[in-house]
Structure formats: C-alpha cells, structure tokens
C-alpha cells in the first residue's frame, strides 16, 4: 500500500479522531524548546527540586546538564528507590509476525526490505508461549509488524487470549488501533499498550515514513489516549533516539506522557528508550549522536521529570549498560530476548527487526539483579 501521496497530518477514512489538545500542546512546546538556551544554573535549580517543571525538564535534557550527569544519576537513584524500592520487573517480547505495510527507512521490518517474512500460527504461538513460560516469566509483550492485512486485529486478539492463559500480564506492541479495537484486545486479556512516535518532528516524520498507515502522524500520536479510553491499564511512550534531534524528541516524548497522565491520572505510564540499531541489509544504521552518555542523560531526565513512570531498558543496549541503569533509572528489563518471529521454542520462522546486544537468559538476568541487591519481580499487577 502506497500512501505517500497523502498528507502525513491528515487522517485516513477509517482512523478514529478523538477530542484532545495534547498533540497541539506537545508540538508547541517542542517547537519553542531550545536546548542550547539553558545554563548550569538552570540545571542546578532543577536538581534541587522534588517535582520538576517543564522548564526544569528542558534544562536536564540540555547540553548544559552533561557536566551534571553524575548528580542526575545520584538523584535518579534516590527517586527510583522512593517510587519502586529495589524492584525490577522482568518480561520478554514475542514477535508473532513481521509483515509490514509501512516504509520506515530506519526499520528492518520495512515493507521494501527483503527479509524472511512470517506469521506464527496459533499452534506455533502456543509452543512459543509454553517455552517462555517455562523460564518463569509471567509478563509477555506480543509484537507484530504493522500490517492490518497480514496480522488482523482478530488474529492478534486470538494470540492475546492464548498468551493470557500462560501469562499474568500481556502487553501489545502493534500498529495503532481505534478505541473499540483496543477495548476488544483488552477484553481478550491485554492491558498494556506500547506505541512509539519515533520522532515528534512532523517534517522529519514525513521524510522517514514514506508510505503506509504509519505515515499519519496524529493517528499514531493519539494511540495511547485511545488505548486508555478503550480500558487499557497503561501505556508506553518513546522516541527512536538518533532519528532526529534527540533532545527535542525526548522532550516531546516526556511531555506526551506528562499530559496523558494528567488527563488520565489512573494510567500507568512508562517509557522505552530505543536507539537506532543495525538491521539486515542496513548494517550502517546507527544512533548518530546519541552515544551512551546521551542515552543515559535522556533516561535520567525521564526519571527526574516523571519519577513515578516506569522505564524499560532494551536489549538494544549492551549488558554492561543495562546492568548499571536498572535500579538507577530503569525499572523494567527484558530477558531471553529474540527479535525474530518465533525462535524461543524452535527455529525462528522470520527474520529479526534489529540486532540485539544482550542475549542473556532469564536466569542470567535474574542472577545479575540479585547480585546487585535488586529484587527481580515477575508479576506486578493482578488482573481482576
């Protein structure tokens, strides 16, 4: 499906439009955000506060905050302990399909990339679920590429129902849906929705999403709100760091979460912090100016701005980085990860989305957490 003749800011006919002004607020703030305008004093002031203003948050994301990274880390560690104690949640993703109708230039699943495409049958999904459940995990994240045709809402719904038999928590990371479709998946057993905006710069967004439904920026932006209106317990936010100006993107992602939680105060809010990674047929794909230092700065700023929000640390990052950020700012870590379709139980059926940097098993990650004085938590929500 080629949709590059449509405006990236206009909804397509089947896309639900909800009443909200959050996108306008976030984009206005982001537009005005000038990371270079902050001084050391602004950063020091922010570090003295318990609850940060939006301006304080901007200061912590600015280059002026780089010399204060250690202080930010010390404060983040205290905040993380205050809100989460020593708990760190464990989960794993399961890719059930990698068909995709979008042409996103930075992603290994993009529809023009020649990779092995696959979609697991329900029997295959069940085998994968059993293999993962045997590791002791109780939370799973189901993922698909973004293809309504190949991986319909009904197909995902059946997969969620199966997953809910083996796992106490089921999250989904799929293409954005309408409210009623989220409600359906919630009734099937999913209660957490992750949608990443990739970049909040609408011009850049248009340039890197050449075709497919994903090209429509506002429909993606309001996915979290529709999910919450559809009864989901929580939602995750994130920008793909390195795609555009990462400071502006992280600033916008933080505000997106902030305003959404303000409007839906009961919602669980979390962040993911993906950086660009190499993928099949594009070994050069990389996070540009987002090195580990900058990634950590973003994670610490998220923690200090919204100290109650969960932060998930991806297997995109190396073990040494992941081990040190859990308990400091990250509160959730994946383990036993495959980003291919299937591959937990038998041979993988389809190619992976990106290269991972940390292939440790659940047992190994569990041992690492204990050794660091942290408490591995396999279940943190009871669905009643």
């Amino acid at each position: 499906m080629h949709l590059n003749n449509i405006s990236h800011m206009d909804y397509l006919p089947d896309m639900e439009i909800i009443q909200s002004d959050i996108m306008e607020k976030v984009l206005d703030y982001m537009e005005a955000y000038d990371a270079d305008s902050y001084t050391a004093q602004d950063v020091q002031r922010a570090l003295q506060k318990e609850w940060l203003t939006i301006e304080d948050y901007g200061a912590l994301l600015s280059p002026a905050a780089l010399p204060y990274l250690e202080q930010m880390a010390q404060k983040a560690k205290q905040e993380t302990a205050k809100h989460f104690g020593t708990s760190v949640c464990l989960f794993t993703p399961l890719y059930i399909a990698n068909y995709c109708e979008n042409h996103c230039v930075y992603c290994g699943f993009n529809c023009h990339n020649h990779i092995h495409r696959a979609k697991l049958t329900m029997d295959e999904i069940e085998q994968e679920l059993q293999a993962i459940a045997a590791t002791g995990l109780q939370e799973i994240l189901l993922l698909t590429g973004e293809s309504r045709t190949a991986s319909s809402v009904e197909y995902i719904g059946e997969a969620v129902k199966l997953a809910a038999r083996y796992f106490r928590n089921v999250g989904i990371e799929i293409y954005p849906l309408n409210t009623e479709e989220y409600r359906y998946l919630n009734q099937c057993g999913a209660d957490f929705v992750s949608v990443y905006q990739e970049t909040y710069n609408t011009d850049k967004y248009e340039q890197v999403h050449l075709s497919g439904h994903k090209r429509v920026f506002p429909y993606r932006f309001y996915a979290q709100e529709r999910a919450l209106q559809g009864g989901m317990r929580g939602v995750a936010f994130g920008a793909l760091l390195g795609l555009d100006n990462f400071r502006k993107d992280a600033f916008a992602a933080g505000l997106h979460a902030y305003y959404t939680q303000q409007k839906y105060p009961q919602a669980d809010i979390s962040f993911s912090c993906p950086r660009m990674r190499p993928y099949i047929n594009n070994a050069e794909n990389n996070p540009n100016d987002v090195h580990e230092t900058q990634l950590l700065q973003v994670m610490l700023a998220y923690r200090l701005f919204l100290p109650f929000a969960g932060i998930t640390i991806s297997t995109r990052e190396r073990a040494g980085f992941r081990d040190n950020v859990v308990g400091m700012c990250a509160t959730k870590i994946s383990a036993g990860v495959r980003t291919s379709v299937g591959g937990h139980e038998e041979e993988q059926k389809g190619d992976e989305q990106f290269e991972i940097s940390d292939s440790r098993s659940v047992e190994e990650v569990d041992a690492m957490l204990r050794q660091r004085g942290l408490q591995p938590v396999y279940i943190d929500h009871v669905r009643v």
Binding site: Q78, A81, K82, H83, F84, G85, T86, S87, G136, Q138, Q261, P265, Q266, A267, D268, I269, L306, F308, D366, R370, G373, L374, Q375, P376, V377, Y378, I379, D380, H381, V382, V384
Partner: protein
Amino acid sequence: MEDKLILGGHTFDSRFILGSGKFSLDLVQAVAEQGGAQIITLALRRANEGGAENIMEYIPDGITLLPNTSGARTAEEALRIARLARAIGCGDFVKVEVIRDSKYLLPDNYETLKATEMLVREGFIVLPYMYPDLNVARALVDAGAAAVMPLAAPIGSNKGLATKEFIQILVDEIDLPIIVDAGIGRPSQACEAMEMGVDAIMANTAIATAGDVKQMASAFKLAIEAGRRGYLAGMGRVLHRQAEASSPLTGFLED
C-alpha cells in the same frame, strides 16, 4: 495493665507493621525479626501462584499477613483482589488501597469507603488506607473498619508527619486504632506519631531504602516503643519561649 494492639479481635504485642513491597524478599525475615514486626503487608499483585518467586514463602512463621489491594482503582477491584487473597490462603485481614492516581498515589477516600463496606459484609477484617479526613474516618467506623490507616505524607516520600494536625484529630475523635501509614521516613517521625497517641506505624520505604535495612528496622522498633511509652506516661509540660505578660490579665478578680 498490658498494652496490646487489638485489630479485629486479634491481639498483637508489636506496634510496628512492616511493608514488604519494596524489599528484596530474602531480607524480609531478618527485617521482621530486627523490627519485632508481627504483621507484614503483602501486595497481592506481587504474589505468584506457583511462579518462580512466591513472596509467601518468604514470610516467617508466626507472622500475620496483611494482604493489600494495591493496583485496585475501584471498590469493585479491591473486593475482587481481597477475595483472591483469601482464596490463596492469606486469611481474613485486608488492607484496602484504592488508588486512581499514578503520580502521587493518593488514596481515593470515596472508593475506599465503598470497598470497606463491601469487604466488611463479606467478613473481612478491614484496615483502610486513607487520606486523613475526619468525616470519612467516621464513615469508616460506621462501615465496620477494624482500624483506620491515615497517610502521614505521600507514599514513599519519607517526608514525615505532613498531615500531623489531621491525624491528631483522628486520634482524638475516632474510637478505632489509628495506624499511620505512608510517608514516615525516620525513626524520630515514627516516635513522634506514637507520642501523639497513634496506635501503630506502618513503614516500608524508609527501611527498604536505608543503608542498612536490618539496623533501620531495629531503630524503628525502638522509636515506636519509645513513642508509645512516652504517650502512656503522659507528656510533661513543655515550656515555650514566649515571655508571659508582665501585668496579669486576671488581676481584677476580687474573690
């Protein structure tokens, strides 16, 4: 006369209730021992049913479990979580937590009251966690709560008795045990609450985030005992700095 804490007809020597939600589980037993706690809360959302890490295995013998309904956003959800707790063998005690705010985690008093009414009808011993509001506390008494658990400050904040005046009102007016829950960050704050006449203290973050958790548990035990003894002894006169007026206001009296 023996000084006991009585909750729903059950008698306890210790006035220290230990929260378990923010600990590494293998520390719970040692912390309970050091703190002399006889009641430990248990977040049901963390309790596995046969999973890799079953929190109940870590609860020492002789300890009364106080399952909480954390994660509940409505009275209905609290009721269902409490039933689940009872079904997996946690007993009849339940601490009601109904929270519809993921930022400050402040309890929703309205839903808490509704949940208390429902749970009492099902025979639970109900300890509601609440924002210290006298009217709600009175309604909780009428609903059949076994105690009232007002917060001292936002949960996890370690800010101490930010709601001191309002907790004192509950101590003075409510004829049920008052257990201060949430916000107590230091042993001295626990001691101060006990001096006010509070019946027990619940603490979690203050201990879980301490440098030496066992030692901090022991410090809380001593502080709570000291505060209780001070309260029972009756506070002596505390002199204030202001000078008394030089010409007496009552000098006009003739008899």
